[in-house]
Subunit: 483 residues, 2 copies
């Protein structure tokens, strides 16, 4: 594609989703897109990985209905205020008007907790740790952007209920750990967990913790968030148990929502380059493509046959591989598969076929990095190179992320630093609701958002003044422009 994502991110983004066939924006409902096979294959691998980690941590899968009666929303006051403006409403079916409007779930608290109320009787029924992999619908009024913000998106939501506050708090920590296991360790996506300001938490939560990463244009993108719900919902939905003294106790709840379609967006934006997608080895739909080079006077059939035998041993070793036997030129094929981020390219001409070897190039390498590898060593070599590629991607992303963290101690400095992109740390008055007006001032002046305080909490700045209000600063706040 030959576009720099650093210099022209918007163009890079629009080009890659169309050229690498990640999604199609021409679907005829506003804010809805078609996710095409190349993106879906990686998203499926991401779902699998996430579900594995959730299950290892005691979660079980369930499937709840996607329609929720309007009356369920009215039960928790903050929740209804937060979500009602975003709900798609089903009002009729066939020829009949429905007696009650049904919401297409924007999130499933109000569908699930009425069932939890039926399921929880005694302490023996706790904890409940259930997740569902599904889509949700939100009538976004902000500009939509494929993968980042659509009116239908694909996520996992885990909803947990505990007998004690301590267990719920520990779950929030576990949710952050799981985010790290998948996003950092597997996908190479750097992020910081922030505790969101009181004015920016999930409707109905006591506290919201959300991971922010950075896009190539320096804007923050929210990734998984986990919410300490306390007893807000359990009191509203009557999710309670009899304790040892036969008293009624309400459960303590948490919910966690990694959005797979959005994380996929972050993944390709963070690792991609001017030639197209670059994907960690484990998550590439195709991990190795074998390109036969059939020059004049060469024995085409025997080269193809040799390519097939390479493909067979790779597949036998569990590597997703294929031979590109299409009629295009090798050069065309190189570009095609580079654009799609296939981690390993294997070139096979007459010389390779005769010598029982192959020429290997890893996706992020240059021509000069090509290596000849003997047939017998191919599997081991590709596995090794794949692992190294994933590690390189993670390291580069981490470095870039670390270089995008700034600090400012005056409004002027904050404005200057925000122009650089990234996240700026400032002394700030507090995260309580009455400090929202100072955050609004930052928003108005610099289009920057206060993302919260770091989690776990940092030591408060000592003797510093809030850069906006001039009052005593009680915390380090983090500011960024956001998607």
């Amino acid at each position: 594609m030959n576009i720099s994502k650093e210099k022209d991110f918007s163009n890079w983004f629009n080009t890659i989703i169309s050229d690498a066939q990640l999604c199609d924006l021409r679907y005829n409902v506003k804010g809805f897109v078609v996710f095409r096979p190349w993106a879906v294959k990686t998203m499926k691998l991401m779902y699998e990985e996430y579900e594995k980690v959730l299950e290892k941590n005691g979660h079980e899968p369930a499937i709840f209905p996607s329609l929720i009666p309007e009356k369920n929303f009215d039960i928790e006051g903050e929740h209804v205020k937060g979500f009602t403006p975003e709900v798609f409403w089903v009002e009729s079916a066939g020829d009949s008007k429905l007696e009650e409007r049904l919401a297409m779930r924007p999130t499933s608290e109000t569908a699930m907790y009425q069932m939890y109320s039926l399921w929880v009787r005694g302490r023996v029924d706790l904890p409940i740790k259930i997740y569902q992999s599904c889509q949700v619908w939100r009538y976004e009024t902000k500009a939509t952007k494929p993968f980042f913000r659509s009116r239908e998106f694909h996520w996992i939501e885990a909803h947990d209920a505990f007998a004690t506050k301590e267990e719920a708090e520990a779950q929030v920590e576990q949710d952050m750990q799981m985010s790290k296991q998948v996003l950092t360790e597997k996908l190479g996506i750097p992020f910081v967990f922030f505790q969101r300001p009181q004015w920016d938490k999930f409707p109905g939560a006591v506290n919201t913790f959300a991971a922010d990463t950075l896009m190539p244009d320096g804007k923050a993108l929210q990734l998984p968030s986990t919410h300490l719900l306390g007893q807000n919902f359990s009191k509203a939905f009557d999710v309670a148990f009899q304790n040892e003294k036969e008293e009624k106790e309400f459960v303590w709840q948490t919910c966690y929502g990694p959005c797979i379609s959005r994380i996929y967006g972050a993944l390709f934006c963070i690792h991609g380059d001017e030639r197209g997608l670059v994907l960690p080895f484990e998550f590439a739909p195709l991990q190795a493509v074998i390109v036969p080079i059939l020059g004049k006077g060469k024995d085409g059939a025997s080269i193809i046959k040799y390519c097939q035998s390479i493909c067979n041993i790779l597949q036998g070793a569990g590597i997703r591989a294929k031979v590109d036997e299409s009629e295009n030129t090798p050069g065309f094929k190189y570009n095609y598969w580079e654009l799609r981020g296939v981690p390993v390219r294997i070139e096979v001409g007459g010389r390779e076929a005769e010598g029982a070897k192959a020429t290997i190039l890893v996706r992020d390498g240059e021509k000069k990095d090509k290596k000849e590898v003997a047939f017998d060593e191919l599997v081991g070599h590709i596995m090794e190179e794949g692992k190294k590629l994933s590690m390189r991607l993670k390291r580069q992303a981490d470095e870039k992320f670390a270089n995008s963290l700034h600090e400012a101690k005056t409004m002027h400095e904050l404005g200057e630093k925000l122009k650089l992109g990234g996240i700026v740390r400032i002394p700030f008055v507090s995260m309580e609701n009455d400090s929202k007006k100072y955050a609004d001032e930052i928003k108005e002046k610099f289009a920057g958002d206060v993302r919260g305080i770091k989690y776990p909490a940092e030591k408060a700045p000592s003797g510093e003044k809030c850069v906006v209000s001039g009052k005593e600063a009680t915390c380090w706040a983090y500011v960024a422009k956001q998607y």
Copy 2:
């Protein structure tokens, strides 16, 4: 549960879904249920298996929006007539009335084929073989029944487009083959593929082929169906390519829809027994449960430790295993896991722990079938017994199915045979629309439905008269009561 599914299927069915916690019917939208973890875990394994087979046969996954503009439905005349009465309509979002009503997809032809029209330009873009795993919504006016007929159900839909009629016809055959690979070979579910009568085909199809199995009460249940769409939709949605002569040609299409939630229903109804679920080894959420037997005076800690070491080697071999360390009695645990269909129970008392062995009982066995197995042989033994269990289930189901196929040559005989349950073969006038009135007569008299002719086609009955009309019979029709 101690209920015979043959004698009292309805009671058996309602009891098992509640006692084994397969789904919860108390969700507060009519026709919608909550699928609980025990059912979802098996359904996930079934999805995985089906997706693997689809991909092996050249299909790729995609995700299309779940909302479809009303105007898309109007494009194919038969399709709109067939589905409009069943559609849930989204009419507003937030506070706004939508400009156009959006259908919650009852099936995705009208969402997908407008995109196929954009994607297909030349022969090089064909075939398209795309599937999506998703849910669909239908406002059923018939009585709903969990798993069998809900207003939201979970399926896979594969939509294929080809340059030629022959390829489309071959795809229909491949769809039937895939049904056989998953349902017959993996799940042990017997069925017959029928070509449905013209009056009972998928709205918009040229021909519909559907697999029917039988429930314990002798009624037929439709499983996967595949539809030859011909050029009906491609002409309506303008899915066409330029052929070699630069002429416009419309593609030939098929679609295939295995409904996972329904197949799961068939699975547990066919294999279950009076004690609860019986599941093929490969699809059991838990394949082996280890029950410690801690009698008086025994060394509990060392028994538990030994159970853990068994669990570890089983898990290491890829067997889904766990130790039931709850405080219930062994007898309670036996019933509990039998009800849930865990294929292998492993009893471990002091004698087993000291002797480095374990007592094994397979789910469909009796007390007398218990076997002592040495620790070192456990993995091999359980794998072997698991395989045998799956084969036994298949064989029993096949036998029962074969015994439920009858034949009748008069209306009276048809009535008598239908009382036995199962499928009755009769000489019949034809599958064309003008024979519908004779099928209606059967429906009215015996509540039996003409399911179609067998596929591949049988030899027509020679010299027989149609049992209803008395006219010359041109085919063997199959009749059954249905869900």
